[in-house]
């Protein structure tokens, strides 16, 4: 067990190193979400006037949504570096060491977790600078970070499983381009659930992105409803565990075909 943790940490370091050497790249991954934050922030500003909108500015409302969306969109690319490792023979090299496969996956999920926390903090910080306010406080913010990390872990695991099964960059890019936007828009990212048509409400309820956003929106409440936050974090945890398990099955199939 100690070896698994130690190996995972070494492998997280391996993945983080390029970003640490060239922090600008982190900026590129943040470009789109920041544009969305301010674009949608302007576009839907008036919506707060509608009856039934939760108190506070639309920007404050939007920040947790953009945090979760960014976590999902960026972690979906995790599989592409796997395909690169496979093509370069680096994955085989890892597989002949005594390292367990779970440590290899944990290394990537750890990397995604660190990146997601940094990106989330930057988005929240920019939101605060632009006037967003979060009466829920530090604990609710931590809950949002936890939700973002679980979303990242789940989607990274899915992306890695796809990488191991299909072994092609194009397939991963196609699948996550196909999933990304619908998952974002058919969720409570941009609008309160009550403002959506019924059929979207139904989809949204089962959409993991909504689960994450629901946790995050607790930041807006003066009195945080911890039962909602904790139950939705639990759903996300279950999802992440299931997808990591799928990942280890995919690993088995990868080696069987080797």
């Amino acid at each position: 067990m100690r070896a698994i943790v130690a190996d995972s940490l070494h492998l997280v370091t391996r993945r983080l190193r390029p970003t640490l050497r060239q922090p600008v790249y982190l900026g590129f991954t943040l470009g789109t979400p920041v544009i969305w934050l301010f674009l949608f922030g302007q576009l839907f500003k008036g919506i707060t006037a509608l009856p039934g909108f939760p108190s506070g500015s639309y920007l404050s409302f939007l920040v947790p949504g953009i945090v979760i969306m960014t976590a999902m969109l960026n972690s979906g690319w995790a599989g592409t570096s796997y395909v690169m490792d496979m093509e370069r023979g680096v994955l085989d090299r890892l597989l002949v060491t005594p390292t367990r496969r779970v440590a290899i996956v944990a290394g990537d999920l750890g990397n995604q977790a660190v990146m997601t926390v940094v990106q989330s903090l930057i988005i929240i910080g920019l939101g605060l600078l632009a006037g967003a306010r979060f009466p829920g406080g530090a604990l609710a913010t931590l809950a949002l970070l936890a939700a973002a990390v679980l979303i990242a872990a789940a989607f990274a695991a899915l992306s890695i499983a796809v990488a191991l099964l299909v072994r092609k960059q194009e397939s991963i890019i196609a699948i996550f381009n196909f999933l990304g936007l619908p998952l974002s828009f058919l969720s409570s990212t941009l609008l309160p659930t009550e403002f959506m048509p019924h059929w979207i409400q139904d989809i949204s309820r089962w959409n993991p992105i909504s689960w994450g956003v629901t946790v995050g929106r607790q930041m807006l409440a003066t009195h945080v409803d911890w039962s909602i936050a904790v139950s939705h974090l639990a759903y996300l945890l279950i999802l992440a565990v299931v997808l990591v398990a799928l990942c280890s099955l995919a690993f088995r199939s990868y080696q069987r075909l080797a």
Binding site: A6, R88, G89, R93, T97, P98, R256, A258
Partner: protein, 330 residues
């Protein structure tokens, strides 16, 4: 001494088919004595890499069994992995990391201590002439530098058995010599067991104590380079022509001079095996002259590993790339 105890690698009847129906191995068997260098030699697609991938736990055989360092490669994968080092045919370096970081990660994953990682990495960098570049991102390395780093990474944790899949492909002659020296030293002085695959006959001849020629998923023949050469009795005659001759001419020569065995032509080179070179060569030259073929040079020699290869695979060994079947009768 029990022989199986002194074998570092034993393969028995390994078979493997890939999806799509390619039968890569059709019963590969051989064994490698502890502390020796053994070479698998064979044309493209013979099954050399597949054999190595099975012995290193990366792939599993459909049938047959194998032991490495006394451990079953299917049932005792974890222990096998601790005992072996593997350098794949493709370079497998993390291009986003420096040379040193690549070595260090390797050491960490084998649970080596920090101080040991440092000493061992410095030692290997020095040995492979990479000391000057170890702080550079490997993206900037030349192909030869990457290959050396690959081998160094395979040695990082001081394995007992080292698998090298075409270690010198892509190296310039000088680096190749240097790599040969290092590999020989590993085997002869440090007691490592080395299994290497190669396309280069001279490489196998120079490095390996024993050779197995692999062809179409089987071991065609196995032995020491000298044994293999001795097995081919008689001499090899080789005639260099000014212009290639037609297949008809060749067929005629073959019928008229039955003393020539395994007569083959490859471009402008004609070769055959004979019992006595002194007796066969004049007749052959006279015959060629009568056909109007101009001879540039002719030699008689003891069989080389080249001839052994030719004899067992039915192929003329060309450069490292193409080994294609050529002419006439055996």
């Amino acid at each position: 001494m029990d022989t199986s105890m002194s074998d570092a690698i034993e393969a028995h009847g390994l078979e493997k088919s890939y999806r799509g129906g390619v039968k890569a191995l059709r019963g590969v068997s051989f064994s490698v004595r502890k502390g020796t260098i053994f070479s698998l030699l064979g044309p493209n697609g013979a099954g050399k890499s597949t054999t190595l991938r099975i012995l290193t736990t990366l792939s599993s055989p459909d049938a047959g069994e194998a032991r490495v360092a006394g451990l079953d490669v299917v049932r005792q994968q974890a222990q096998v992995r601790l005992a072996i080092g593997y350098v794949s045919q493709k370079s497998a370096v993390d291009l986003a990391a420096t040379g040193y970081e690549n070595l260090a990660l390797q050491g960490q994953l084998y649970g080596m201590r920090k101080a040991d990682i440092q000493t061992r990495a410095d030692e290997l960098l020095d040995r492979f002439g990479l000391s000057g570049v170890h702080r550079r991102i490997t993206q900037t390395y030349s192909g030869g530098m990457l290959r050396k780093l690959d081998v160094a990474m395979g040695l990082m944790h001081r394995p007992d058995v080292l698998f090298l899949d075409e270690p010198t492909t892509g190296l310039d002659p000088e680096s190749r010599q240097a790599m040969w020296r290092e590999i020989r030293r590993l085997g002869r002085e440090e007691g490592l067991t080395v299994l290497l695959t190669t396309h280069y006959l001279d490489e196998a001849d120079f490095l390996a104590e024993r050779i197995a020629i692999v062809d179409q998923g089987r071991v065609a023949v196995e032995g020491t380079p000298d044994d293999l050469k001795r097995e081919l009795k008689g001499d090899t005659v080789r005639v260099e022509l000014v212009r290639p001759v037609s297949a008809d001419t060749l067929r005629m020569v073959a019928t008229e001079l039955p003393a020539l065995r395994e007569l083959r032509c490859d471009g402008k080179t004609l070769r055959a095996r004979v019992d006595s070179g002194e007796r066969a060569l004049p007749a052959l030259l006279a015959r060629l002259d009568a056909c109007g073929a101009t001879v540039a040079a002719a030699t008689v020699a003891r069989p080389s590993l080249d001839d052994v290869y030719l004899h067992h695979t039915g192929r003329v060994y060309l450069s490292q790339e193409e080994a294609s079947p050529k002419c006439v009768r055996s």
